[in-house]
Subunit: 236 residues, 2 copies
């Protein structure tokens, strides 16, 4: 599957002339990396990306600079640019950070909770169920994101959601692999349902504990995936 990635798209990426080229290249590459269409350790050549996107090196370099800042790409001057591997230690640390942030957000959200919030989350759950049934991993991923974002909004800390997003970049890569397993999505939905009930109870401690359990269960995804994608993960 080494030749996977962007080459699996219908054809060369078509840029929207109304939007900055660098931004479009950034988004396309980020999505490809998160969904593992560009696999960990895969070499990326600036020149190859230029051909693929039909642009010069300038916007490609800008996009690559941003992806390196995001921790998704490793640049080795004069040698090459590679999709960053998934470092297990970083995954563990990211889980710790995400848990700390989202547990605090859940508690704070419970303190400010309103019926409209419950309504919004239930609508989201319905979408999750529909996309899981359809086997649409990407749409399910977006639902999942939206679900947690609503909680951050309810906590009146929407900016913290941005921090969570950057922390969870590693999770997103793993989550996309996990989403290929229907049972995984079903598990997530069940946990999300429990979370809605806890938040609806307006009990900060209950909401915090429930969120903590939810985020801990993602550990199981790694245990499942390592046998299948051993080369994606490095111990350090």
């Amino acid at each position: 599957m080494g030749q996977a990635g962007l080459q699996q798209r219908p054809d060369t990426f078509t840029l929207d002339r109304k939007l900055p080229a660098a931004e479009q290249v950034y988004r396309a590459l980020r999505e490809a990396i998160l969904t593992c269409r560009l696999e960990p350790n895969e070499a990326i050549s600036e020149n190859r990306l230029c051909s693929m996107f039909g642009v010069s090196r300038s916007p490609v370099r800008t996009a690559i600079t941003r992806l390196a800042e995001d921790g998704l790409i490793d640049i080795f001057p004069q040698r090459g640019t590679f999709v960053a591997p998934i470092k297990l230690r970083q995954v563990r640390e990211a889980q710790f950070a995400r848990s700390a942030l989202e547990v605090a957000l859940a508690a704070e959200a419970a303190r400010h909770w309103r019926d409209a919030d419950t309504k919004a989350l239930k609508a989201n759950l319905a979408r999750q169920e529909r996309h899981a049934r359809a086997g649409d991993g990407w749409a399910f991923y977006l639902d999942n994101e939206s679900f947690h974002q609503v909680i951050a909004q309810a906590a009146r800390m929407e900016g913290v959601w941005g921090t969570v997003q950057s922390v969870k970049t590693l999770w997103d890569r793993i989550g996309h692999m996990a989403n290929r397993v229907p049972a995984h999505m079903a598990d997530i939905i069940a946990e999300h349902r429990a979370l809605v009930e806890a938040l609806d109870s307006r009990d900060p401690k209950r909401a915090a504990a429930c969120m903590k359990r939810h985020l801990k269960s993602v550990d199981h995804a790694i245990a499942r995936l390592r046998p299948l994608h051993g080369d994606y993960f490095v111990e350090e």
Copy 2:
């Protein structure tokens, strides 16, 4: 003080030919922004930076791209690039996120605490006291960073320290202004001393509560600074 910033340096920035130009420009600009030598809302011209650093636009643009990702710079195409203002809502959200992360780190550190950790923190405290007496705000800032980093190391979550660092970028800007007030540094040292005692007790709850109090006290810095630097802060 509008003409402050990089022009206050002894002379034009001298690049080290052994290091990538983009990296050096990035670090120099980041430090200038964090220490408010480049003030919030100050215009930055790519061409002006080229003259200042003696390089072409390429490394300057790379550095600016990274600083924009860090949230320190706002780019308005065809209009200009500006040092980002300090948005109070973002500050509040950053405080929430930092508190969540460092309280969890302190609790975890207490669970793994060793006498060598106490020793390391006490050595750091001695340096803090020395630099505060000398009125060296920058050195004190570095001591402060190192202090919290040791705690993350003790928690065996050093990678989370990177997350804290990106979260606390806003704090760093405020902290540098606050460090010009000697009383502020003295307060910080006293709180750090209490934190060392809490960690040394190996009691996770005590360490967490102490860290929470410590991070809450930084609120007072904002209350002090707003009358002096009202134009640095925006409500949104």
